[in-house]
Amino acid sequence: MENNFPILKIMDDQGNLLEESYREKLDKQLVYQFYYHMCRIRTFDQKAKNLQRQGRIGTYPPFEGQEAAQVGSALALGPNDWMFPTYRDHGAMLTFGSDMIRTFLYWNGRVEGCVPPNGKNIFPAAVPIATQLPHAAGAAWAEKRKGTNNVSIVYFGDGATSEGDFHEGLNFASVFQTPTIFFNQNNRYAISVPFDKQMNSKTIAQKAIAYEIPSVRIDGNDCFSVYFETKKAVERARNGEGPTLIEAVTWRTGAHTTADDPTKYRPQDQGKDIVEPITRLERFMKNYGFWNEAEITQMKMNIEEEVEAAVKGMEEYPKAKVEDLFDHVYANPPKQLQEQKDTYLELLRRE
């Protein structure tokens, strides 16, 4: 089976194109878009790790190493598409249009972090693993029923493939031919559990055969493969040709979360041979004459500023309101809930 699903790669580790035909599709604007977003979310990610270390936000799951997968896929979407991320996909969310202040807020235990900008169809990050797959099938089905050509993309990890909802979500998408892209980031670990203890198959792509869903296995650290293969899947979905499963093979360079110690379970030199996606893109940019030091320095400064401003925005954000504990559970809160709220607020006032 592994041979049936070779890892597609457009660019190699050294930043050389393996298929020259892509040369013309890669204009400066696009390449800089990739680079910009990858640097931007990397900066966000590093800042978040630091904030966590300083106790300024809560436990945080870094996505370092997975930037190509997240940016490449998110850039392949249109503005009216739907995104169903996990807790590790705020890179994709930011690229697709999530607000950065709110993203920081999310990791600071603030429910405000789940609210997408108006008009942006971004679901809250799914915390219970794989539960978001059926949602993505449903939202896409709704688009199909309405006769639009919008699609949904849903992110999930290698570990998520073991849950029943993975299976039920793919089956619904397949039966109802919903325009859904099942985007797997196979980073080879689910917390401490390695791929080969998670499943006995060598690929995730082959699991799509169970549903007659087309699938493809790609180098998830090659932003070009990710982008163009996601584009293809999106186009098929828009054309009414149903769902696709994409297995993006990648690697999280850091810990599962800031509360995790990967040296406990990952062999020391595992992953050392993997060229992380930003380095790879930089090599490409240098190889193919896209590198403009001045522009890039400026870009990075802008990013730094944006991220710093977002941190400030997070920290200056109005304090969490106790009312919010009660006010959003129901459209019309039951009287007894109203009473619980009133009693508690009264107590706080008296204190």
């Binding site: 739907w82 429910v111 405000e112 789940c114 609210v115 997408p116 679901f123 809250p124 915390v127 219970p128 539960t131 797959l133 059926p134 949602h135 993505a136 099938a137 449903g138 939202a139 896409a140 089905w141 709704a142 688009e143 029923r145 309405k146 949904s152 029943g164 909802d165 039920e168 979500g169 089956n171 619904f172 039966v175 919010d324 959003h328 559970v329 129901y330 459209a331 019309n332 039951p334 009287k335 007894q336 809930l337």
Partner: protein, 339 residues
């Protein structure tokens, strides 16, 4: 049985005699007609019209696109409905029997009930989950569960359970119109047990409001769904001995109509709660708490609960022993009255 049903504005409307399940069917027909965004999903709801015929004729009338046979996959049904609901549709998802809702428990617990909270109202999940519940129809194992407490304990959801055809249609329409997700429990055993005049037009029964089925002075008997006929049998019997019973049909299990309970118990000073779910952590305990909280000084006797025992609903040869019987209800009433 002579009961005093609270007047509803529809009482002068054109009516038709319907069973409870016909009223449910009629309710769904009404909402499918009135709102293009409603749709029905479930196992066997299409051509087959549901294993109990609740959706009979609906696919024929509204098409395969609005009355959809799904794969055998409860988590898939509810999970997909979440996606449909946030994206403009109003799914009415059928779970074939309440005992088969458990595979979807995660979806209901972590998404259906929480999505509005999680997004501060940006997304909401206006959907209805229908599930026949309860014992007494000689069904196989697991088909007879009565697990309402797993959902009344779940903030973000509402839970209703009609006992009569009239309430069945009105509560169904109310559930569909409600902006919050509603679990709509159907007393299987009452599906075809009686007929009642039901308005043919659309009407709704307010969620959160119980109904005094019968006024009385000596004791308040609280129940819902399939236990209402059991209670009424017991009450008929016991009133011959000169005990006057007030019978409350809760109709909504969350949020509880605390006022109707409190007012009645403050009048009678005595209460018996009847339900078919297990005693331990059953909803009867909530009602005991409501009375404790609101009517402590009025109570003349400990509250009695008559419930299914703390054993799994048994295979059907013994189900009548599992279920509260009129006799057990009667004994409980006598006990509180003669305390």
């Amino acid at each position: 049985m002579a009961t005093q049903v609270k007047k509803t504005p529809q009482q002068n409307a054109v009516t038709e005699k319907m069973t409870l399940i016909q009223a449910i069917n009629d309710g769904m027909k009404t909402v499918l007609e009135n709102d293009q965004m409603t749709l029905i999903l479930g196992e066997d709801v299409g051509k087959n019209g549901g294993v109990f015929r609740a959706t009979d004729g609906l696919q024929e009338q509204f098409g395969e696109d609005r009355v959809v046979d799904t794969p055998l996959s409860e988590s898939g049904i509810i999970g997909t409905s979440v996606g449909l609901a946030v994206n403009g549709f109003k799914p009415i998802a059928e779970i074939q029997f309440m005992g088969f809702i458990y595979p979807a428990y995660d979806q209901i617990m972590t998404h259906v009930s929480r999505l509005r909270m999680k997004t501060m109202g940006h997304f909401s999940v206006p959907m209805v989950i229908r599930a026949p519940y309860g014992a007494g129809v000689r069904a196989p194992e697991v088909h007879s569960d009565s697990a309402e407490v797993l959902f009344t304990h779940m903030p973000g959801l509402k839970v209703v359970c009609p006992a009569t055809p009239h309430d069945a249609k009105g509560l169904l329409i109310a559930a569909v119109e409600d902006p919050d997700p509603v679990l709509y429990l159907e007393p299987m055993r009452s599906y075809r047990s009686t007929k009642e005049e039901v308005p043919v037009d659309s009407y709704s029964i307010e969620i959160g409001k119980g109904n005094i089925r019968k006024e009385g002075n000596d004791v308040t008997v609280i129940a819902w769904g399939a236990m209402i006929p059991t209670v009424e049998k017991a009450v008929q019997q016991i009133e011959r001995n000169g005990v006057s019973c007030e019978v409350i049909d809760l109709r909504t299990l969350y949020p509880l109509d605390r006022n109707i309970i409190a007012e009645s118990v403050q009048k009678t000073g005595r209460a018996v709660v009847v339900h078919e779910a297990h005693a331990t952590s059953g909803l009867g305990n909530d009602i005991v708490s409501v009375i404790n909280d609101t009517s402590f000084l009025y109570l003349k006797a400990p509250i009695e609960r008559v419930t299914g025992f703390d054993v799994p609903v048994p295979f059907f040869a013994l189900e009548e022993h599992y279920l509260p019987t009129p006799k057990r209800v009667q004994i409980a009433i006598e006990k509180v009255v003669h305390f």
